[in-house]
Symmetry: C2
Subunit: 751 residues, 2 copies
């Protein structure tokens, strides 16, 4: 059994107080906080590539064309479970314009959409026709596509080892003891549906060989990971593969790591000696590139009358198709002080495509369950749900490390959000209002990681004509990476962001991690800052010589290099750059994280909903999202990130669900007509708020990541608001009108 | 007047002796010489890209195609001197398939081939037709195309400032006093023709814009210089320009810096929004991309009876068309001990294309004159010409610096070459043999620079799968740069050269200088070595941990990482690489040159010829080329470099001459049918020899450059061999049969 944080914390509140006073727990002074006199960092800056994107000039992978380009298409299994008896490629091969036909698979297929064969042809039409001419003889096998059925005895086996596998357990303290000591014990079960990553841009790859060197243009969140994955799949050295990403329209986890179609494009290109492009259809996007696993989570919790949590247990049955489901217990383990915790998580296998990380994997589902449960517990205890959360707030990570947080602004999030939404307006008793359209307020908290990856690299290059580049092998997945890179360099060198050329998305550039897990900003921004600081120091040194001053007295601002307090003595930035012998490159690295702290980000969403008790429709009116992510680099794109997360989360909470016909094993809504996502009319008013806090330890800018956080608490906050409106707690995502009506009906039956 | 080296040298021979004993002139110990226990460095290694090149798979700029590519063509002046009265582009613009027509020039044109207008069209044929439809009205102006005519009073003025301009003068001691003290004084005049850089691949550029970012694929020796030149020409920041060079087929100086056609391609591409390729024809190559200036050099020299040089003076009239001619006095100033030297150099302007550096600019012409003169002086003194050179050999640079050479193997070159050719076989009296075909031996010495450019960068990248890259923004101009880069890394990491992926020729890579002036190897090789040493150190550290040994006891060899003297304890290179957290990049830099030394390379060519006194034909039978270039990195490509230089020099010495019709001002041989270059049948047997010497100071490999050296002394060595064969000294390049016959006739008339 692992050691509980509280055991080593002694007195959490004291430690927190000490931290707040600016002292380390061991009595040492904290490091100097990063400077706060920034002119650009922290302000709203329009995306430098925004004009290109909104005018359609930004070129995405599918927009790229090459001389002698071929189009690749993939033949996929129509069956969830079948044996391939024979494959006849001959009719496809003899079709004019078809340059290659390859078989990818023999034996058993285990999900609808599994690749069987692929073609490369001079046109998309020829490639499609060739697919139609491939003859595959199948023997259908029994399938199981619902996790409930898969858990039944005698269900068709997905893997030889069985359909259910425990993959995570955790425990601290003694939950049974905790339950015994509790004034109130409650047990509830929550369910979440499979959600498809519906990226605006579907997956696309172009592969091109120059002798033994492979170059791939890919719509990806992870150029280095795709490079290494391709090298392994093709059994060639990583040094022979280059991956380039230009612009991309969303990934949400489905573009991490190398995809099947990318390897297939590379194989077809090698065979034909010509570049091959494969762009997946919306249908393929629905069937074959992953999804968010479903969960079935039972939480049992016990608390004292005053709301002090004494014990929490969780059992999760999560289904990731032929792959593993999501570990969903982290929020329950980490976020609130609770001495006795026990977790068991099981994955359930079905004959569906393997799941993939989907924006805040596990946390979305686990938070829906945990934060919903807490509201039910608060109601049971007759407490304000917000007060219950404050009561159990902690200053140290409750999981394995037990370390104090480097910074934690969750209490401030509560304060900001409650004030903005008007928390006192809520129904004091859930469902106490009347009428057809009933309003309610709800809230939920969130914890996430996103401290950044040590070893991330960025270069700043100063040309002798005064032009400036910032270069890193990171990728902009739609979040504004280019813009904050330019902003940080501009801030440090006293330039405008427009004056900085940003080069990213190419594995020939310095290493940076995959863009996922809220890691990009806290990885790349500090490396950029570090390189820019070095560049500034060198320019100050050169300018000091020219201006006959000390480097310490030189300042860089407004495109000029000046002697402090002596505005007469200055030269332009370009004149200073001309003092370089030649272009100078400064290498920045995101260093290691100081030990002794837990690095997490926090947030709380406050939601107002209106529920139509006749139609069952839930309308989200208003969302106030308060987040603590250390320093906000670009207020505009940070707010966009929050707005995007909430739109996506609102959509998934209310509408989204992969539907599979159990008899055929086939998905019935592999398209955006029948798989519903939120439209503009469904989007609430959203108010992003940030706690004005700089993490003094995490990195040289005091900034944390913000990719996942806004996606995490929204579902629970909506469910809690619905509860507040109609007195019925919805324990299933999506909260569709039929589920609302069914819950209301059930309540009527058992008031 | 500058201070002569001898004044600060005190006793040259003593200093030389001290150096030879391994002591610095000031009594200090020299630095440790670079290690000599190399397994790969110094051995002959086949070019890693050789197979691709000889099978036609290597893709040169002209071989690259892009989607929507346009072809650009340039309309050029047919006149050497004319005024453009009007240009009518309309008929060209209205031609189907023509996407852009631009006027480049107004007012006066000053050489045949000067660009006037350009077109971009969907095919080369359409572009050519469009050129034909451009109507230009010229008013012809008087022209002057021969330097002799240009120096005449009343000649048409090429530039307003006049046709003759002094551009270099140098003096040390008192030449008049030297001549007065001399036992023999001689004065001779030497003439060299204009030579065209006939690169196997003519110039080609492709320009492509992505919004405000310009990418140019260029057949160039200097990607960074082309990048910066383009930025200046187009008035855009250098950060917005990227230049890529794939393979290229020779430059010899004509591909240094940005060319007109490259800027034109960029302008056409910007205007059309499509990529534009311009490949120059052989005719354009002859007319418009530079040439080696002609020279008319008069040397006067005085010596004591024993051969001791007392005074040398030189007057050079060099013609570089509308540009400046070549400074040709460096060999005369630097290479031999001579207390009194005086130089005056004048450029003569004509209405021909501006010259360009051409493999060993100035040194080729100056060495032809100087080394020819020395043979004439030796004959006058009755001395062996080799003895005359040895007599005046020096250990310190005789020019401005007066510093001792970091290493100098010229005496060893004399020894090796004389032995190999059988120097004692020569005619003791020039022209003493009889018969129709007469043989003779001649030799000449050479000095050049090539110490490398401090600040050159190279990265070594180790992937976790054990694959290795070496990356530098250098370019392989046909000399084997890729191969020695791989060899140095392989040597340092205990791998095979084939295991190292080389990435060069892209301005996104770390900075490296232009490939010219014999600078590439001594710039890039030390940077690569430095990066590889860092990589080796890191891998040793990681492996030491795994093998439980001290890093100092770890050796990298044969693809394994071993504990020294304990072959049992070892892991594979890939296993060691797997210990890295991720791909690791090591930055190497070629550091500053230690002060206090002159850095030069040396060589001597020994030639045997057969002259047919009936036809005047000179046949070069045999060339022994002995060079001292510090450490030879790759013996095979070094030998190829020597062989190439000698073929090129033999060709220029015997055949090559740009011919211009004085009445029309037009070149009469702008093609390879009438401009003669050597064929295989004209190529002598060539024996490259290298002095086994490592420069202990120049860099971490002790290596110097070898681009120019083999091109420098060959003409003089052939002329001296002809002199030895027939007793007539040819003072004009090319040594065509008519010139040989004319010289023989003149000798008969004045025996």
């Amino acid at each position: 059994m692992r050691k509980h944080a509280s055991e080593i914390e002694k007195d959490l509140n004291l430690a927190y107080l000490e931290l707040a006073k600016g002292r380390e727990p061991d009595g040492q002074q904290p490091p100097s906080p990063p400077p706060d006199d920034f002119k650009l960092i922290g302000t709203p800056t329009s995306r430098l590539d925004g004009f290109l994107i909104v005018t359609g000039k930004a070129r995405y992978t599918h927009d790229l064309f090459f001389d002698h380009l071929l189009h690749g298409k993939i033949l996929r299994s129509p069956y969830a479970s079948a044996e391939i008896m024979s494959v006849d490629l001959s009719a496809a091969q003899s079709l004019p314009g078809v340059e290659a036909v390859i078989q990818l698979k023999e034996g058993q297929v285990k999900y609808e959409g599994e690749p069987i064969a692929a073609v490369a042809a001079v046109s998309e039409i020829a490639a499609e026709e060739a697919l139609r001419r491939i003859r595959v003889e199948f023997r259908q096998l029994p399938h199981v596509v619902s996790p409930e059925k898969a858990r039944e005895e005698g269900a068709p086996r997905v893997h030889d080892s069985g359909n259910v596998e425990k993959f995570n357990e955790y425990s601290r303290g003694d939950v049974e003891k905790g339950f015994a000591e509790a004034d109130v014990v409650l047990e509830r079960t929550y369910k979440t549906a499979v959600e498809i990553h519906h990226t605006a841009e579907t997956h696309a790859s172009i592969a091109k060989w120059d002798e033994d060197q492979l170059t791939v243009w890919d719509s990806t969140q992870a150029i280095f990971s795709v490079r290494d994955g391709l090298a392994r799949a093709l059994n060639i050295p990583a040094s022979k593969v280059r991956v380039i990403k230009t612009y991309m329209g969303g990934g949400f986890g489905s573009k991490l790591g190398v995809n099947d179609h990318t390897v297939i494009a590379a194989r077809l290109a090698r065979q034909t000696g010509r570049p091959v492009k494969i762009t997946l259809s919306r249908r393929e996007n629905s069937l074959c590139v992953g999804n968010r696993p479903s969960t079935l989570i039972t939480i049992k919790g016990g608390a004292k009358k005053d709301g002090t949590l004494l014990a929490l247990s969780m059992t999760n049955y999560t289904c990731g198709g032929i792959g593993r489901g999501d570990r969903s217990s982290e929020p329950l383990i980490d976020i609130y002080r609770c001495p006795n915790v026990k977790v068991e998580e099981y994955t359930v296998y079905t004959h569906t495509c393997a799941s993939r990380p989907t924006r805040a994997p596990g946390h979305v589902q686990g938070t829906f369950a945990l934060e919903g449960f807490l509201d039910e517990l608060a109601a049971e205890l007759g407490l304000d749900p917000l007060e219950l959360r404050k009561k159990n707030c902690t200053t140290a990570n409750q999981g394995d490390t037990g370390l104090p947080y480097s910074s934690k602004g969750l209490l401030q999030c509560y304060e900001l959000g409650a004030k903005k939404i008007g928390w006192s307006r809520r129904n004091k008793k859930p469902g106490e209002t009347q009428g057809v359209k009933r309003r309610g307020l709800g809230m939920a908290s969130q914890i996430w990681w996103g401290a950044g990856v040590p070893g991330t690299l960025a270069d700043v290059k100063i040309h002798r004509d005064g032009s400036v580049e910032v270069v890193s092998g990171t990728q902009d997945i739609g979040t504004g990476t280019r813009t904050y890179m330019a902003t940080i360099v501009a801030e440090t060198l006293g330039l405008k962001p427009e004056a900085v050329t940003v080069k990213i998305g190419d594995t020939v550039y310095p290493w940076a991690p995959s863009s996922g897990g809220s890691q990009t900003t806290p990885s790349v921004a500090p490396a950029v800052r570090e390189a820019a600081m070095q560049a500034a120091a060198e320019l100050k040194k050169l300018a000091a010589k020219k201006l006959e001053a000390s480097p310490g007295d030189i300042v860089l601002e407004n495109g000029r290099v000046k002697v402090k307090d002596n505005p007469e003595r200055s030269i332009s930035f370009a004149e200073a750059a001309r003092e370089l012998r030649r272009e100078a490159v400064f290498h920045g690295i995101r260093g290691d994280l100081p030990g002794g702290f837990a690095y997490n980000s926090f947030g709380a969403h406050f939601v107002e909903v209106e529920v139509d008790v006749q139609t069952g429709q839930v309308k989200v009116l208003n969302v106030v999202a308060a987040h603590e992510v250390g320093r906000v680099i670009n207020r505009l794109t940070a707010e966009s990130q929050v707005v995007g997360g909430i739109i996506q989360g609102t959509s998934a909470s209310l509408f989204e669900e992969r539907l599979i016909d159990e008899s055929t094993g086939q998905m019935v809504n592999p398209n955006l007509q029948s798989y519903k996502i939120a439209t503009t009319m469904d989007v609430p008013e959203i108010t992003p708020l940030f706690v004005d806090m700089v993490d003094p330890r995490i990195n040289n800018l005091g900034t944390k990541g913000l990719g996942e956080p806004p996606r995490i608490p929204i579902a629970a906050a909506i469910a809690n608001a619905v509860y507040n409106a109609i007195g019925v707690h919805l324990r299933e995502i999506p909260m569709t009108p039929d589920r609302v009506l069914a819950a209301l009906k059930k309540k009527e039956a058992n008031p």
